[in-house]
């Protein structure tokens, strides 16, 4: 589904991604872990097409298309969803209207007719139940005055609405208490099918108790320095990132 080949990116002349290689197949969950500043969120942003980052090298193939040629909205319609680490507020725009506008675009892209108001409300109700979103939230403006937990739940709700092929969860666990974390993780798990995939970016092992990955990649200094199964997270939990850092630094020197 997704192939990242030697991807390099910079911001303001500073290189952040220094050659990322990663392959993701349908049905897989990949976790990306790493210390602060290793480039985790940059990778998420570059995949979603945020133009404050310059891609300086490499290729990304998504469902056979050259992803880097597409505009952010085209990537979204093709099936890439980014659950933001810090979802922004859009005052005055209700979640219902926002999602309806977004879903219309996705449907048009897929050659489908936009849903009628009735169909849409029914669809939204189903998805809301699936991710256990509060009934109150849909009438409110997008993220306006939401608590940290509500914002993250809203991200998962939007993900349910748009049914992406590839979901990228950027530190979705940050700022969540354990109950909110469970709700969010539950939602993500329910949305998992054999045809879609996700990239779970996290700093802590905690989230991976609830969303069990097939692979874990350790990102350090703009490169994936180690890949393993879910046991890698436990290893990290014990020894921290220091050992990996040392090992990676040694490798880079040689």
């Amino acid at each position: 589904m997704l192939q990242i080949i030697d991807l390099k990116a910079e911001i303001n002349g500073k290189e952040i991604l220094k050659g990322i290689n990663l392959e993701i197949k349908p049905g897989e969950v990949h976790a990306i872990m790493g210390p602060n500043g290793s480039g985790k969120s940059t990778l998420a942003s570059v995949l979603a097409g945020r133009d404050i980052f310059n891609v300086t090298g490499g290729k990304v193939i998504f469902k056979g298309k050259n992803l880097l040629d597409l505009l952010p909205e085209e990537r979204s319609r093709e099936g890439i969803f980014l659950a933001f680490q810090y979802p922004v507020e859009i005052p005055g725009v209700s979640i219902t209207n926002f999602m309806r506008a977004a879903l219309d675009q996705h449907r048009i892209h897929r050659g489908l007719k936009p849903m009628s108001a009735m169909e849409f409300l029914k669809y939204m109700k189903e998805k809301k139940a699936l991710v256990e979103m509060d009934a109150k939230l849909e009438g409110r403006a997008v993220n306006e005055g939401f608590s940290g937990g509500e914002k993250k739940k809203n991200e998962v709700f939007q993900m349910a609405m748009l049914e992406p092929d590839l979901a990228i969860l950027d530190e979705t666990d940050s700022g969540l208490d354990i109950d909110a974390l469970k709700v969010v993780a539950n939602g993500v798990n329910k949305l998992k099918t054999k045809d879609n995939a996700s990239i779970v970016i996290t700093h802590y092992q905690r989230l991976l108790d609830f969303i069990v990955p097939d692979f874990i990649h350790i990102l350090y200094d703009g490169r994936i320095v180690k890949t393993g199964g879910k046991e890698l997270a436990l290893e990290l939990e014990k020894s921290g990132y220091d050992e990996i850092k040392l090992e990676a630094d040694r490798l880079i020197k040689n």
């Binding site: 909205e73 859009i90 209207n97 926002f98 675009q105 403006a141």
Partner: protein, 481 residues
């Protein structure tokens, strides 16, 4: 940011959609202004003697006045001797049905999407269309007439209801109120008149569409709405104008009078030609709009969506004279390219327990300047008066400006006055957030702007709200249609 800049630029370069002119024979007075022209206007309108006197007095006063300069506006002053003060489609008979109206006129309205047709009539809107200076068609006269409601052109009202005119005209906006009200009083050629009798709830929205059609023709509309005791009326005013290179002056006067327990809702959607992207052409909109809550418990609400005009100078105001009277002002003003708007409201509290609310949303794009200027004036007699004002500005791009000048005069210590103001920009991360959900930037900007203006748009009558949203999107979007 590069892409956003491009889209913002496209939006700025969007052409005025209603830019076409209608080829209808016009009956135009020679240009220039003097006593003879005023006499001719009055004669042409078959006015009673007192109106001519009223006009001439106003003209005498106007000649002693200078154009005001205090607004934050920069424009070439109109040459008042270079304007024709009367234009009407030639040979204007009284039409009995739409079929008799010049198809060209109907075509113009259709191009604008003005629903002057039976569907509209069936949906319950009586339309008094003003094309240049003469009312062309009035619907629903009879239904309204059965309720005792008078809704007609002001010229007709002057002829048919001189007592009401004598009693109320220029009582809210005196001829001597300001430079433009004096000019308007001297030369106004048409406009609308509505009178709602005691205890009557007007069953439909009264609606007027203005359209400036003749090059070099000043438009001096006069509107007078009177809601007698315990009555209710919702009045809609909407306008677009064809593209012109010369600046066109529009100096209307609107007066609203709400008696005891009466309510007037006055809604405006204004989309006059704003000039091209270099700022050439476009309408000068210098309007005096004022209402008086004359009786106890009366209410006046102003709702306006302003997207047009090169220069706007406009402050719909309310004098809260009756005890427990209230007034609201909801405004969205969008300026683009070189447009300038100096707009806001005045709330003058005279009666006890009077209440006013001001919600103003300014949106600036391109090189435009958007100014909110408001006055909350609590007089000594206005015990327990209450005002809440909120002025929000949204900037799109980096070359536009937003300014806020709130004046507050409080002469009674029991008053409570609140003022809140914010200025924001559409943030790059908001646009990216929308992009990531599949919305293109143009869509995103439109959505964000509509969200910003929602509080005001929701105050418009249903059908007008749809029109206003469409207008906002048209003003913002790069694509045509």
């Amino acid at each position: 940011m590069g892409k956003d800049d491009k889209i913002i630029k496209e939006i700025q370069e969007k052409k005025y959609e209603a830019g076409f002119t209608t080829d209808i024979e016009m009956d135009v007075f020679p240009i220039g202004l003097n006593e003879d022209v005023i006499r001719a206007i009055s004669k042409k309108k078959e006015e009673p003697e007192f109106m001519l006197e009223f006009r001439l007095k106003a003209f005498e006063y106007w000649k002693t006045q200078k154009e005001p300069e205090w607004a934050l506006l920069n424009y070439e002053k109109p040459n008042f001797q270079d304007i024709s003060y009367f234009a009407s489609p030639k040979n204007t008979p009284k039409y009995n049905s739409l079929d008799e109206v010049d198809p060209e006129i109907i075509d113009t309205f259709n191009k604008l999407g003005i629903p002057l047709n039976e569907q509209k009539a069936l949906s319950g809107v009586a339309v008094d269309v003003v094309m240049d200076s003469v009312s062309v068609h009035t619907t629903f006269q009879k239904t309204l007439g059965d309720l005792g409601i008078i809704f007609c052109s002001i010229s007709e009202a002057i002829r048919e209801h001189p007592d009401l005119i004598k009693k109320y005209l220029a009582t809210v906006v005196p001829s001597r109120d300001n430079f433009y009200s004096a000019l308007n009083s001297a030369v106004f050629t048409d406009g609308s008149f509505a009178y709602i009798p005691k205890g009557v709830r007007c069953p439909m929205e009264l609606s007027t569409y203005f359209r400036i059609n003749q090059a070099n023709t000043g438009q001096f509309e006069r509107t007078l709405v009177i809601a007698d005791e315990g009555s209710y009326v919702s009045y809609l005013e909407g306008c677009t104008a064809p593209q012109r290179d010369e600046n066109q002056l529009h100096a209307a006067v609107v007066e609203l009078i709400a008696m005891k327990n009466a309510e007037i809702k006055y809604s405006t959607v204004q989309n006059w030609y704003p000039g091209n992207k270099e700022g050439l052409g476009g309408i000068y909109n210098f309007v005096t709009k004022r209402g008086i809550c004359k009786g106890d418990n009366s209410k006046i609400s102003w709702t306006q969506v302003e997207t047009g005009s090169a220069v706007t100078w406009k402050y719909p105001s309310t004098i809260l004279k009756g005890n427990h009277s209230s007034s609201e002002f909801y405004s969205v003003a969008v300026t683009n390219n070189h447009q300038q708007a100096d707009t806001g409201t005045k709330m003058v509290h005279v009666g006890r327990n009077t209440k006013s609310t001001i919600i103003s949303k300014g949106i600036s794009l391109g090189k435009s300047n958007n100014t909110y200027r408001g006055l909350v004036d609590i007089k000594k007699s206005a015990s327990n008066a209450r005002n809440y004002s909120q002025c929000d500005s949204l900037l799109i791009g980096s070359e536009c400006g937003a300014h806020t000048f709130p004046y507050i005069d409080v002469d009674n210590s029991t008053a409570i006055v609140e003022h809140e103001a914010t200025t924001s920009k559409i943030a790059e991360d908001q646009i990216f957030y929308c992009n990531q959900r599949g919305l293109d930037t143009e869509n995103a900007v439109s959505l964000i702007v509509n969200g910003f203006a929602k509080e005001v748009l929701s105050k418009l009558p249903m059908e007008f709200a749809t029109e206003a949203k469409k207008l906002l999107s048209l003003t913002l979007e790069g694509s045509v249609g």
